[in-house]
Symmetry: C2
Subunit: 242 residues, 2 copies
DNA sequence: CCAAAAGTGTTATCGATACACCCATGT
DNA sequence: ACATGGGTGTATCGATAACACTTTTGG
């Protein structure tokens, strides 16, 4: 063992990259951060996250964060990567903000990042204890400068999510409302995987999915032929989870 | 922000699950840990790992650990999961050992785990500063009680590795010597993926791999027909890495 | 000459792809 | 009646899977 001191004081945080789908585009949930800089307010965005509590597991921390933020429980949540560049929390604005909100002297932070997939139609409480969250187009990410290295985290989350969906397509249903149309499913799939599927072939394949249930019901209030609704029974779907 | 104290003192470690292949079986590299318990010595095994240094990135820490342990550089190394159960480092034997070797009071530890794939024939320095490492059959893992939650980590590493190889089969070449036979490649592949491939079909597919070079050379000192040798040029292989 | 593993092609089956027209509904 | 998206089947192609005998070498 080298003569190295290990008594510095790092912190561990969990951040969640929360994805949604509004029927047309992929969305990401971001928190607005307002910083009082004396002469003016500075405002930007960040991923939902928190330093983990002393006796808290990582998965537990991630679902706590989501529940505090959105009021939702039983959300699809999976860890995907940890970020520990020593410089990642060195921006003075970030450091000040952290020490203000935590009331603690903060040195280095290692962040364990999670992906969450949520049904955007579930009514969400967006004002937990003075933070506000909003959905943003994923496409706009490139033009936003998020706090810390959250741009990098979100990008990596996106590429992980795409890979994950190709591996476990059933996870797509986490992003759709309980009842959805074939077209919704297909356009979501195509956006995520980055292809344009043939309508008939897509349908053919999807109808073989165990757990997919065609309902005796059509979507209402559409200005054309009403599309059939489907739902998905998780317990019957094959789960190749981790 | 809740009224929660964040000034407890966690530590972050990086552990490496190092895989090798001896021509027949998958191997894992473990470190022998000897604990002086007063009346007797207790000895068990653990994954190679270390608390990260104060100014060290995660990937950097992982390759430092590997270099210190084996003398190897440029090893295939990829992060796969972080472990942060609050109870995971609560075994008194583990705590004592940690505090002895680090000379630091250790509370909770979050571990970022990596997978390494190495060519078992590269000559390896196994005695770095009083630790000894050895290759063990992966099959024997179930019968060994490793330190901390290292059994769990190793198991998860294995399942990650299998999935990873199915996705990026080229990574198999990281486990083979520079020159290898088709049979070696196939049996390695079959062990990892858990199938038994047809000899001819396997050959057909593999020969299409960009970067695979048949050599004008055969393996020597075999008690039967000498098999052809192949090598693999990484730069020409398609890399769907992360 | 015997044992042991290496090397080598063809056929059948299954899954993936390409493709175009009529239908139901709201305005 | 028309505009808009919904719904449906067949034929081709390519990839994967099945399958067995001859060759080389060392002992």
């Amino acid at each position: 063992m080298k003569d190295v001191k290990f008594n510095y004081n790092p912190h561990i945080s969990v951040d969640c990259v929360v994805f949604g789908f509004d029927g047309e585009k992929l969305k990401i949930l971001l928190i607005e951060r307002n910083i009082d800089e004396g002469k003016e307010f500075y405002s930007d965005k960040k991923l939902p996250g928190s330093i983990i509590y002393e006796e808290e597991g990582l998965d537990t921390a991630a679902s706590r964060i989501l529940t505090e933020l959105t009021g939702l429980k039983n959300v699809f949540l999976t860890q995907f990567h940890s970020f520990g560049d020593p410089q990642r929390s060195s921006n003075p604005r970030d450091v000040n903000w952290l020490e203000m909100t935590t009331q603690t002297k903060i040195g280095r932070i290692v962040t364990v990042a999670y992906i969450a997939l949520i049904k955007i139609d579930r009514k969400i409480v967006f004002d937990s204890e003075s933070t506000t969250a909003k959905w943003y187009d994923l496409d706009d990410l490139a033009n936003m400068k998020l706090a810390f290295d959250h741009n990098e985290i979100a990008l990596k989350a996106l590429s992980f999510m795409r890979r994950f969906i190709s591996l476990v397509p059933n996870a797509l249903f986490e992003l759709l409302p309980k009842k959805f149309t074939m077209t919704e499913l297909r356009s979501l799939h195509d956006i995520v995987v980055g292809v344009t599927s043939d309508v008939r072939n897509f349908q053919k394949k999807v109808l073989q999915t165990p757990g997919l249930i065609p309902l005796d019901e059509v979507k209402k209030n559409v200005p054309h032929r009403a599309p059939k609704l489907y739902s998905f029974d998780k317990r019957k779907g094959s789960k190749i989870f981790f």
